[in-house]
């Protein structure tokens, strides 16, 4: 049983890492900003979530799981928001210019 | 042991890199970055020196913490001054 749980946790973490590696390759190789953002935000969120689940399985502790869940939530929310902001800046440069120019 | 040497070399390397950059650049932002990197290098040296068999010495940890807080204050002043200099030049 414990060996199975251990393996499950490890597999989760490995999968998460794979997501992150793919995201990193994507940021490096993809041609334009939007596709980079696309791969970054999604794969990033998924990767962190998987690693967090894997870690939670490993430690089997309520308090730790709670903070891991909070971390995942924060990454998801802030990843989406920053992605949005960067894209908005790209399409609507007037906002940024107005900020800096004045 | 290997880890210790790796971090020691990193600390010394960061100090060297930062000093080199400070000596060769006249750019205001680069100077701010260089000084920050220098501080990180020194912090690493303090922590590496504080490592012992029974965990890392708490006193250098407190030094590094103090150094980080002091540095953010100084950085804020440096950046405010640099922005003001740029603003006055524009006018």
């Amino acid at each position: 049983m414990t060996a199975f749980v251990e393996a499950l946790g490890l597999a989760m973490m490995l999968a998460g890492t794979a997501f992150l590696v793919v995201a990193a390759i994507g940021v490096w190789r993809l041609p334009d900003l939007l596709s980079r953002l696309h791969v970054l935000t999604k794969a990033d969120t998924a990767g962190v979530a998987l690693i967090a689940i894997g870690a939670a399985i490993h430690v089997q502790d309520v308090a730790a799981t709670l903070s891991l869940a909070l971390c995942t939530l924060l990454v998801a929310v802030s990843g989406a928001t920053t992605g949005h902001l960067i894209a908005r800046d790209q399409f609507n440069p007037s906002v940024a210019d107005a900020e800096e120019g004045a | 042991m290997i880890s210790e040497y790796a971090f020691l070399a990193t600390g010394a390397g960061l100090v060297g890199l930062a000093l080199l950059r400070l000596a060769t650049s006249a750019d205001l932002l680069m100077r701010v970055l260089g000084l920050n990197v220098l501080a990180v290098g020194i912090a690493m040296l303090l922590l590496v020196s504080g490592m012992g068999a029974s965990g890392t010495d708490a006193v250098p940890q407190a030094f590094v913490l103090t150094g980080i807080v002091v540095l953010v204050g100084v950085t804020a002043v440096l950046l405010a001054l640099a922005e003001r200099i740029a603003e006055d030049r524009d006018e």
Partner: protein, 469 residues
Amino acid sequence: MSELSLLVLLPFLAATLTVAVPGRAASLGLVATAANALLVVSLCREIIARGAVEQVIGGWAAPLGITFVGDGLAAVMLAMTAIVSLAITAQAMSTPGRAGFWPLWMATLGALNGLFLSGDLFNLYVAFEILGLAAVGLTALAGTPMALRAAFDYLTAGLAGSLLILLGIALSYSVTGRVDLETVVVLTESSNGRIALALIAAGLAVKAALFPLHFWMPAAHSSAVPVASALLSALVVKGALYLALRLSIEGGAGAEFLRSALAVLGTGGMLWGAWNALRAERLKLLVAHSTVAQIGLIALAIGVAGDPLQNGLWTAAALLMLSHALAKAAMFLAVGRIAEALGHDRISGLNREELRPGAAEFAFAIAAISLVGLPPTAGFIGKWILIEGLVDEGAVHWIALLLLGTALSAAYLSRVVSRCLRGGPHVSATAQRLPWRSGDVAALGLATGALLLGLAAALPLTLLEVPFA
């Protein structure tokens, strides 16, 4: 409560109050400086009566905790700060205030007091950071593009200096495992310890504007408002010089390598500063370059004095610091007044027909006498002690250098004094005779103080002879 804690904490409390109640900042500042002076007097009496005092902060003895050490040298430095601070406050009260001056000035006072009392290297680093930041703020107070640029360069140089000090402290920790001042003597015993000490000394050299690391200083000291220039030149650079002297004392015989370096750099600074002062076209710049020269002289005095635990030659350096603080503060305050009266500070335009020299010119002349070191000033006594000691040692070349430096300082200062006395047409049409202000009293008081200090030199010398804690 002991004087030591109040000496450091009162200025900081006053600083926060001057921010909270900006309308009463000036009177708060006056109260704080007056209280500070009274505390210093009481501390000096105690030290003369009972010897050096020590205070263990929080009840945790060094090396774990931090100790305040109030010995004779610290007391002389505190007294120097207290005297100059009274004059600065008097001058600042008579000039229209700028937002930010009072909290920065109070923080400078607190940091200086903390610096002179601290017995712990890391604590000294933090005190230096307060001092450096507040000094930069005082430089930027003028608000002109030149002052802002000078402030930025000052802060980067100052930060680089304090990071070098911190690097030295980190290495001291790695070599001896502790950072209180007693570690210095251990550091002098091994070659890697000496590397740590050399790094600390290099950082101090930047902060003290010791040649050739003085590049930031003339611009910063000459572009600030007069009160700030006086503060920076008279007190702030003394913090680093004091620590250099303290390291020389704590290191004892082993710190000889440090003293040799100080002597060489000091000589360079003395000559280079004098050369630039001779060529300066603006009065403020001349005074700033003269600070480079005088710092060189003080470093030279620390450097050639030999082991402080063996002989008393180092007291000459302390006396020179004291007399330079008073005279240079007077000089910058006077220069501010002269520039205000004439509408410019070009040396070529100092001669005048219809405006006879006033209090400011008088103060400048007296301060110049003190800086050159003519009798009966404290500068004279300092040089006398030094030369007497060097004669005993037969170190003729150092004596020759000292005399050369003295002659040079007489040469560049007489450029100003002789111009003031000479008649000639005015350059500026807006020149006017200014009414008397408390600032004139401050400049005159400091200048005469520096002059008469020589007669009362027994007092600081008694303090300096109190054995170290």
